[in-house]
């Protein structure tokens, strides 16, 4: 489904006298359709950078990101034209960031309904039902459904973030510490939802800082530090 080959990312800061920062180097891995790869390593080693390169929030400095798209066939996400990336993001690829970043003045329910309505071609009622179902499962109190998520606690925001990303059942899902600010029960619910999504065929790549969790949910782990590598081998 996705094969990363010698991906490196460095930032050149022109305004700091051309200072160069290497964020990740020589990353190679392969995830088969339906697989779940975990990225592991100490903080600052470049795990989030890898995900952002896959999502094209960062432009890769070198290397290739081969993705087998449903709409476009085999493409290199590192060099694909912007319009096609937007289309793939829209139809196939979801991303759960470390922090919720939503449009202000949109209610929690609308935040989750929006991607379902836009993509899955269902009625407003059906989208509403699915969104409410997710919010209830994630234990968001019902009196918050029509409130603005910016005012929520960190854990509630993160659950909204997850609900939004899984609501439309993307084909490929990138997860950046989705459970970092959640209590134990909520973590359990999130893992259950991810498991169901996988059963429906979603391929996932995720970062979890809890190693036990990482090993229990993923079916292979890639160590981001250029020394130890196991899991799926590139190619």
């Amino acid at each position: 489904m996705i094969t990363v080959d010698n991906l490196s990312k460095s930032f050149t800061l022109h305004i700091l006298n051309e200072k160069k920062i290497v964020a990740c180097r020589d990353i190679s891995f392969h995830v088969p359709p339906g697989g779940f790869l975990g990225l592991s390593g100490p903080s600052g080693v470049g795990k989030s950078t890898v995900l952002k390169c896959l999502y094209r929030t960062y432009l890769a400095s070198s290397g290739a990101i081969r993705y087998n798209s449903a709409a476009y066939g085999s493409v290199d996400l590192a060099t694909l034209p912007d319009r096609a990336v937007i289309d793939i993001r829209y139809k196939e690829m979801g991303y759960v960031s470390q922090f919720l970043k939503v449009i202000p003045r949109v209610s929690a329910l609308a935040v989750i309904m929006e991607p379902i309505l836009a993509r899955n071609g269902v009625s407003r009622d059906a989208a509403r039902k699915r969104a409410i179902g997710l919010l209830e499962r994630l234990r968001i109190p019902s009196h918050l459904f029509d409130a603005y998520p910016v005012t929520f606690s960190g854990g509630e925001q993160q659950r909204i973030n997850i609900a939004r990303a899984v609501s439309w059942k993307p084909r490929l899902l990138l997860l950046d510490e989705p459970t970092a600010s959640l209590d134990k029960d909520s973590v359990g619910v999130v893992l259950e939802i991810l498991k169901e999504l996988r059963e429906e065929g979603t391929t996932m790549i995720g970062i979890f800082h809890d190693t036990k969790l990482l090993e229990s949910v993923t079916d292979s782990v890639y160590q981001v530090n250029n020394i130890v590598r196991h899991g799926f081998v590139a190619g």
């Binding site: 800061l13 305004i15 929030t57 937007i86 202000p104 003045r105």
Partner: protein
């Protein structure tokens, strides 16, 4: 998917120009003023595609050529060079001479006659300016402002025009009972909403937004932006959003171009431009954001 409009090598020079203008201006020289002949290269070799149903952002400091770009595309100013072609699917059935058989794209629209340009503008384009005085007749009633635009687009039935005006003003949250009042009686935010209603009245394919929220206070700005976001999906608009405010661009646009001294120095996905800017100027712009 093929772009709705293709812009290639668009340039605008104010002044007589000389052989050294091109080399002496641009982002590296940090100026758009030619030191040899005193000409201003307001836009230089700007190329991009605008797709259906997308919002493309244009950011840059004042004097970078953003508003010039909009005025060229809206046929207010004559370009010094370059091309603008529109896809056949834009529905220009009343202007069949623009298309040669077999080609999916029109001839260079910048070379059309004034009359044809006006026809095209009335049929396909809408614009909202930073300064409502540019977009509205301040002494004419709000409904009249919209009716004027409808007349330009070929409407003739007064009752229908009034009905359409009321519908649009309602949509942009102007109380209907005030539709006979002139915009000079309104607050800045209301004037901006009347401008939006007017711009949308002919069901345009392309909407130009030139610093539409600059100068509005924050809560009003938020409402205008909310409205634009909703209208985009409702009206299936392609929008060119010019702003120096990265927050506005981030909220409205999936793709963004960065302009500096008349040139496009960088373009990409909006989140990439904001989080991984490549050009020195973009890095400075992003780092300067509050």
């Amino acid at each position: 998917m093929e772009p709705l409009i293709r812009i290639r090598g668009l340039s605008k020079r104010f002044g007589q120009g000389c052989s050294r203008c091109l080399d002496a201006t641009g982002p590296e020289q940090d100026t758009n003023l030619c030191p040899h002949c005193g000409s201003v290269m307001a836009c230089n070799d700007v190329s991009f595609d605008l797709f259906r149903n997308e919002a493309l952002g244009v950011v840059g400091e004042s004097g970078s050529g953003k508003s010039t770009l909009v005025r060229l595309l809206h046929f207010e100013w004559e370009a010094s060079g370059g091309g603008m072609e529109m896809h056949r699917s834009a529905g220009l059935s009343n202007l069949p001479e623009m298309f040669t058989d077999g080609s999916n794209y029109s001839c260079n629209l910048l070379g059309l006659s004034h009359f044809q340009k006006r026809q095209l503008r009335n049929a396909l384009m809408g614009i909202v300016y930073q300064n409502p005085h540019l977009g509205l007749r301040m002494q004419v009633s709000s409904g009249g402002n919209i009716a004027e635009r409808l007349l330009g687009a070929g409407w003739r039935n007064i009752a229908k025009m009034r009905e359409r005006s009321a519908e649009l003003l309602e949509r942009t949250e102007i109380p209907i009972e005030r539709m006979d009042e002139p915009p000079c009686n309104f607050s800045g935010g209301m004037q901006q909403r009347v401008q939006i209603a007017k711009a949308l009245s002919n069901n345009p394919l392309i909407l130009f937004l030139d610093e539409v929220t600059t100068g509005l206070d924050l809560s009003v700005q938020a409402r205008v932006l909310d409205m634009i976001r909703n209208l985009r999906s409702e009206f299936n608009l392609s929008m060119l959003v010019v702003s120096h405010d990265l927050g506005v661009i981030n909220l409205l646009c999936q793709r963004t171009m960065v302009m500096k001294s008349g040139h496009v120095v960088e373009s990409g996905l909006t989140d990439q431009i904001l989080q991984d800017p490549q050009h020195r100027y973009t890095q400075l712009l992003v780092a300067s954001q509050l």
